[in-house]
Symmetry: D2
Subunit: 379 residues, 4 copies
């Protein structure tokens, strides 16, 4: 009952990981494995003349990096960004911006034990079946480290959006079943500021404390927690989004679902709309100071795939960290036998707090791209 | 307090609806407005040698068309597909397949009243802000009629998938708050067959009856209902999906969110995963007859963005039909004043039953594209 | 010594003709075979608000259609364009423009004799090797009939360009070794008008007469002639073209080389530049009324892949019509034996006159696309 | 008479250099300016399992680098490639391959004098008009240094092609009007080996000597020479190329025309075909040992945009180096006055010898991409 794994393909059996580019006009291509020499991103399509400094990018990478608190792994990463091209005299030149972060602290010995034993809830088995061979050390491209490129590129997108008066911010609204109480009319930057005061990035400080207690508990059990993250954008002009396939919500759904561990994406009322009647769900229009506004925002700022001018609101559901110390069943692919494993090492007991800057980055990338696609008199 | 609407742009203010192509290798481009002469789609990238007849496409269009029951609008559409290219002696030639359906029964006078009064919950206002001008008759490209192209192209994708042993089917699992009881271990084609026996396309026949009663009720009130649709695919080989952005779940999320009225997309356990612990969420691997299998399918058949060989399971939440006879508040953009409107005409009181073939088509298109992207020895 | 031809592939041997889309923002997708039901094109990405009538397209199709003179085939084609979508009240709406021309006069019996005998100089053998099966009637997608879609889409591009003050025109400068004398300082529209007065589309009327005599001669011999076509564009603003790969000259080269029978593309001095010295080739800059101008135009209006504001000048070399009545050697693939063939039927004895509107269309498509890619204050 | 140059755009006047990605499946994105910190390329879409070492890439970069002989500039570049990702245990993993070369020896003071004085024959003026601002030091992205990324990526493509039995090689066939005598039936690798023995990369050693003398002459005059390069590929299977726009010759034309200084691209007989008759131009088919072959190769291995199995033959015309010491007229854009300039510094007196590895790289990239697009049983 031996399963044969062919590690190398003949040329006729070509296997490629080709989906490393995102965006249409504002395009990014990320590269790098978690235990390789470096990770990075090339941002192509950023307009010329945008003031951009390493610090603009570094501050977002600092928010992303682990080892910051009891909510995240103890792994130390320095993560200093290097800007290799595309900037001249402090401004973008319209040419590709190459951003690089060297890898450090990469002890891959822990992964050797699991080389042929796919971890449940991980991409290991799917990658093995797809590629035949894989860089098993630290997950390769499937590692959370790949998000360095997303966050670095997202920082450039955020800078561009800020010139257009657009703000993107995210926070944790639920963790381990504990639901935060958040007043949706609160100013977005205030919510974000409150969230950044605690390790779970939840604006409801009391709930945050209970979430942290719950995290300590599951960590002790060798288990992990899931949660919910809300990402909002204000100042988005009406008119962004390209029907019929590249709708703004469709591109946001792809962008957010492409982040590891995300299993659901909702826009506005999202899942709740299925139980509503039309008269409840529809947001009536009215005039505020001669301008069109909406009485509520069940639509989440998007109708027919196009932004309405109301705040964009997305919600993502994040599964619990799959790497857990608890014993789990799997299969040793090399010998074709059932085995039990424990995934030791330094892993976040919950992903939502760390996903916050990544989700902001992905939303910023989509908005920057659609802002450029909609170039015209109104912007 | 007059709002000025400029209907025509100068050349410097170029506005384009450019997102009409979907897919990478198996690519479709849809065209046509609801009250124009015809709607259609060009399918580019379908392999040569696939047996394909008009009937393969017609049967899916027949499932899509309205006027079939008390769950859908009384609008009559004949919708006969014409295959204009790409087929020779009953087989595809590998060249573009052009499919066309003529429009009929298009009385657009009802829309004239609403020309300057954006309907709440509709794309009207967003389109007006984006394009400055729009074909207001029947929603133009934002009309459900646009899905004719998706369903026709999806039928070609389904034919291709069936050659690879892949089945895609969808059904309504919830409508107006009534939740169907469905045994997930039931054979997918059986579930679909049960669903097709009733007008709400729900495999739980008893629940279907209650859904229909609820529909009669809200229709009488001039209101509408939302619901939930499950789309599953069986026989999908492990290995489909392209990290890191074109993950299979990311592309499914985009495909499904690009359908009008969809406000949430979930994969596998979806929204529920946020309340689970890692040990609950992770699907353990085991050997069944020497082959790798999973003890459960919370992952919905996708890990790390790549198919695992387990069934793909997606869930979408569909908002209630925005066109309702009940009085709603909006704004007359031409005179800049608040007005009340009622949206009369023939509209489905609930979209989920009619979205079923469209959602199947979108999932089939994603799977066909990724099947071709993963061409190699295993397929 | 039988060569086995497998007409149908297994699914694992997927063969697709996938390159049917051209352009980045102004994108076209053509479809249709010469002996199928119709040919057509979907133009996606044309800005809203452009005045466009069927006549704008028809006049270009009329220039393209055969049967007009002794320089072209006797085949009769009516070729009335139908606009199926994307126009509302006489203007483009920014949505896809679907254009269709029905096929007529398709007697394919003549092609049956050659089904297994690839014609020298034709795509027959290459298509057979690529696809395994092909629509042998009239060349399928490899037929000149495919250019109907290019010309129809090009007419839309020309209309857009005319709004920006850009003119594109082409003419025959050489045929069968007879070289026309043309003063390059002549107004472009005047050159075109002169060219349109004769059947070979050459502005040098005396040369045109000699070309026609030469054509009569080779037609009588059952042979054919090659030639040269010049395509120019005036009014193109400086700044179009996207380094480093999507340079304006690179995209023009691709566009023109994608036309059947074209074997060389030159920009400006083209082939001649290889014999020049830098001091001869470089075009000095000077000021004319306070504006930058060039003393000559060896660059053909493009430097570093970006337009300079000088006229764009492209030259293409067109091979002689491969379909000739003269006896030629080939192979019968079905029986694996050498055979002699004569290609009878109605074929142009020279392609250059008919390629003129096609080449104009391709250049217009590239310029329209780059004009939209360069959207900004200057246009 | 002052010309106002706005160096920075407002957001509404977005200017982007976005065409930095090439290829469909085998895709490369280059980045970096000549006087920035580094140049590099991300290769996405290379299949997994390909043996690849730094040496494979280094040997091509060594062929590209200047300072090798009296035919090229004295500028010293070390150009050691660093592989940052995509390789594991000596083989590609199917993930993006990030290649980087640090810049050195960048004294940009020489360029300051010319900051506002566009050099004739250079991209300076066109870039200024397009972007409003530019990195004037060394040409930025318009510098020949940008080709480092092309050559590095091309080396990966060549490695892939070699596994499929495909060889790509180029050589100089004409320089400063001196035409080499080359027997086209000579083995391609032998021709290349002969070419690599001399500084002008011409396989006709006697002609090479005359070319070098001519170079010495024009260098002394402060002038430069143009020339012709032939690029051939053998072992290319029949069937590569995607009608109707992504034809193999169309993509080759784009690839080669995208190289700086190239002004003409010819396939097979190229420019000569315009003077031929069909009976001369058409290549008759015959059987050689039961296989189809062609009696001659005027088609250059491509018919209908698809490879025929015969050698692919492309010819490019390369203009003389625009940077010359001779006095030239231009305009000072800052003060709006005519000026005379001399372009000093270290410049190749002829580009063709140095373009050889770049042209090989571009052809290899096109062939690798089309090989992957045509994946199936025959490859």
């Amino acid at each position: 009952m031996i399963i044969i794994i062919s590690y190398y393909y003949k040329l006729g059996e070509l296997i490629i990981m080709s989906g490393n580019t995102f965006g249409t006009i504002f395009r990014i291509t990320t590269w790098g494995e978690s235990h390789g020499r470096a990770v990075g991103v090339v941002v192509d399509g950023c307009p010329a003349g945008l003031a951009l400094a390493a610090e603009d990018i570094q501050k977002e990478l600092d928010r992303r990096k682990p080892g910051q608190s009891r909510a995240s792994t103890a792994r130390k990463e320095d993560d200093r960004v290097e800007i290799l091209s595309g900037i001249f005299e402090g401004r973008t030149t319209g040419t590709p911006i190459s951003l690089l972060v060297w890898n450090k602290d990469a002890d891959s010995s822990a992964y050797d034990l699991l080389r042929n034993k796919p971890r449940p809830g991980h991409a290991d088995y799917a990658y093995q079946m797809k590629y035949g061979l894989r860089d098993h050390r630290g997950g390769g491209r499937a590692s959370a480290r790949e998000t360095v490129g997303r966050v670095a590129a997202g920082a450039v997108a955020k800078k561009l959006l800020s010139e257009a008066g657009i703000t993107v911010a995210a926070y944790v609204s639920e963790l381990g079943g504990i639901v935060a109480e958040i007043d949706p009319s609160t100013d977005l930057l205030l919510l974000q500021a409150q969230a950044e005061t605690n390790a779970v990035r939840c604006p409801d400080v009391a709930a945050a404390e209970r979430m942290l207690e719950r995290l300590d508990q599951v960590r002790a059990e060798g288990d992990s927690l899931g949660g919910v993250v809300v990402i909002a954008a204000t100042g988005v002009p009406a008119g962004l989004g390209e029907p019929v396939f590249d709708k703004l919500d469709a591109d946001l759904a792809k962008a957010l679902m492409s982040i590891g561990a995300v299993k659901a994406v909702e826009i506005g009322a999202g899942r709740e709309c299925s139980g509503m009647q039309g008269s409840e769900m529809n947001d009536p229009l009215f005039l505020r100071d001669g301008k069109v506004d909406f009485e509520r925002n069940h639509a989440g700022g998007i109708l027919g795939g196009i932004s309405t001018g109301a705040p964009i609101v997305c919600t993502i559901s994040v599964k619990p960290t799959p790497s857990i110390a608890k014993q789990q069943s799997t299969v040793d692919l090399a010998i074709g036998e059932a085995v039990e494993i424990r995934v030791m090492g330094r892993h976040d007991p919950a992903i939502p707090p760390r996903i916050v800057p990544v989700a902001e980055a992905m939303v910023a990338l989509v908005l920057a791209d659609h802002l450029l696609r909609q170039r015209g008199a109104r912007i």
